[in-house]
Amino acid sequence: MNLLDTLLRCVAALVVFLTFPLIIGQTEHKVMAHMQGRLGPMYAGGFHGWAQLVADGVKFAQKEDIVPADADRRIFQLAPAVSLLPYLFVLLVVPVGPHGFVGQAVDAGIFFVLAVMGVGVIGKLMAGWASANKFSLLGGLRTAAQLMSYELPMVLAAASAAMAAGTLSLTGIVDAFHWWWLPWQAIGAFVFFTSGIAELQRPPFDMPVADSEIIFGAYTEYTGLRFAFFLLSEYAGILVVCALTTVLFLGGWHGPLPDSLGWLWTILKTFALAFVVIWLRVTYPRLREDQLMRFAWTVLVPLALLQLALTGIIKVAISQ
């Protein structure tokens, strides 16, 4: 792999990282609006308000960048970057199509992805603590508690997919996929997707940023571009979680069309899942903190363990 090739792949990942979350955000505006009997943004850009998020970006860039007087200045300013960048690195290793259509194939891909996504949490904790604000601190605490409880079922569900494929590489897992994995790994897919949404603090798991209780949790004190970075990291997170669910459980580029159009399937499945994420936001009310914890420990973890056992049994049965 020469330098130009590497550079090109990095730029492609960066472009995806900068555009796809915006597309998801715009979809969220429109889908939510129509589900609630509204029109959503209609003016910016002319055609159905397609440039609304560009306008939002310009607005964020113009705003004054304020750091509260009592805040821990450097950590406060560093937090958005720590929260955002991990998702970029994850996008680099997600396989899009067959025959090396991936930013950079990593041998222990699943581990890399889960590990790097865990680092983003530290950014949110930094934001919560460094803001010197009670609501931020509470938001940070809730974030930490939520992420620690949902990390376990997520890792277990991913382990089930890795066991089924017999490899830790994301490309290898998609390669090993067969259609009957769908019923076989259905529980794992549910657990992974649900805990993924919980890790992103999307509704109905948005207790850490519950606006009616603690304003906006860890992000309360942020303005301007730094706040936009946190928002972007949420939407990039949706993209990453949906893409990972696609790759691990929905067969990635496998579909009726020839292999050369495989990337289309990956993107289609990813956006279908992103639509489900938006749908869930409009459908379910926010879970209470104790309900959140109970759901993780008494529903998701046992389900993930059940899936692991099921995977093991069938795997042994097949190989004989």
Partner: protein, 216 residues
């Protein structure tokens, strides 16, 4: 060690140490950064900064693993230490409302003893490693620390220590649960009829163990 053995042979030195390759230079530089971050982490008077410098030190260690081609261990290091242990530490610090700025009581009276113990431990380890390898040269081929190699050596060669460790961890877990439960059982539950106005429910409990609640 079998990971290293699988990666390359322990041949006697055929290369000089005075013409380092790029990887070796990076290894030393990252090592210096890790050392610096670790020293700051111990020495700083700002509690949360200490935890964040720990992030730098542990992340640097993961890079060192990567440079040694131990890819799997590097990601596990990030997943467990950065993603879980440091988050747990930060969680604890936030629960105790760690102040922004310097904590006046951050200095322990034991620091000189701690320094002595740390130096002794580091000296022992460095002596051990230097004595074990001397001038032998390990060729690090790519893929030597991949998941399959690590898994094979862990579950073929080192399965007994691995299982013993997991039993030890399980014992610690059970012990922690037992300890936390027995303390709760010792506190009698207040009956609704006995409550008087102006006396909070947890008052008797808080008076009994003022320190234990602050610790948790």
């Amino acid at each position: 060690m079998s990971i290293l053995a699988a990666a390359g042979s322990l041949a006697p030195a055929t290369r000089g140490f005075l013409s380092p390759t790029g990887v070796e230079i990076v290894f030393v530089l990252v090592g210096l950064a890790v050392l610096g971050a670790a020293v700051i982490s111990v020495g700083t008077k700002q509690l949360v900064h200490a935890a964040l410098w720990l992030v730098v030190a542990l992340g640097g260690l993961a890079i060192e693993f990567l440079l040694l081609t131990a890819e799997f261990v590097a990601w596990v290091q990030v997943l467990i230490y950065l993603g879980s242990v440091v988050v747990l530490v930060l969680f604890g610090l936030m629960l105790t409302k760690a102040p922004i700025g310097r904590s006046p009581d951050a200095d322990s009276g034991n620091r000189w003893v701690a320094l002595l113990v740390a130096l002794a431990a580091a000296g022992t380890l460095v002596t051990l490693v230097v004595d074990a390898f001397r001038t032998s040269w390990i060729d690090l081929g790519s893929g030597g620390g991949s998941a399959s190699v690590t898994g094979a050596s862990l579950f073929r060669t080192w399965v007994l220590p691995f299982e013993a460790l997991s039993v030890l961890l399980l014992a610690a877990l059970v012990g922690a649960i037992v300890l936390s439960r027995s303390r709760q059982a010792a506190v009698p539950k207040p009956r609704p009829g006995k409550l008087r106005a102006g006396k909070p429910v947890g008052a008797a409990r808080a008076a009994k163990s003022p320190s234990s609640e602050r610790e948790s």
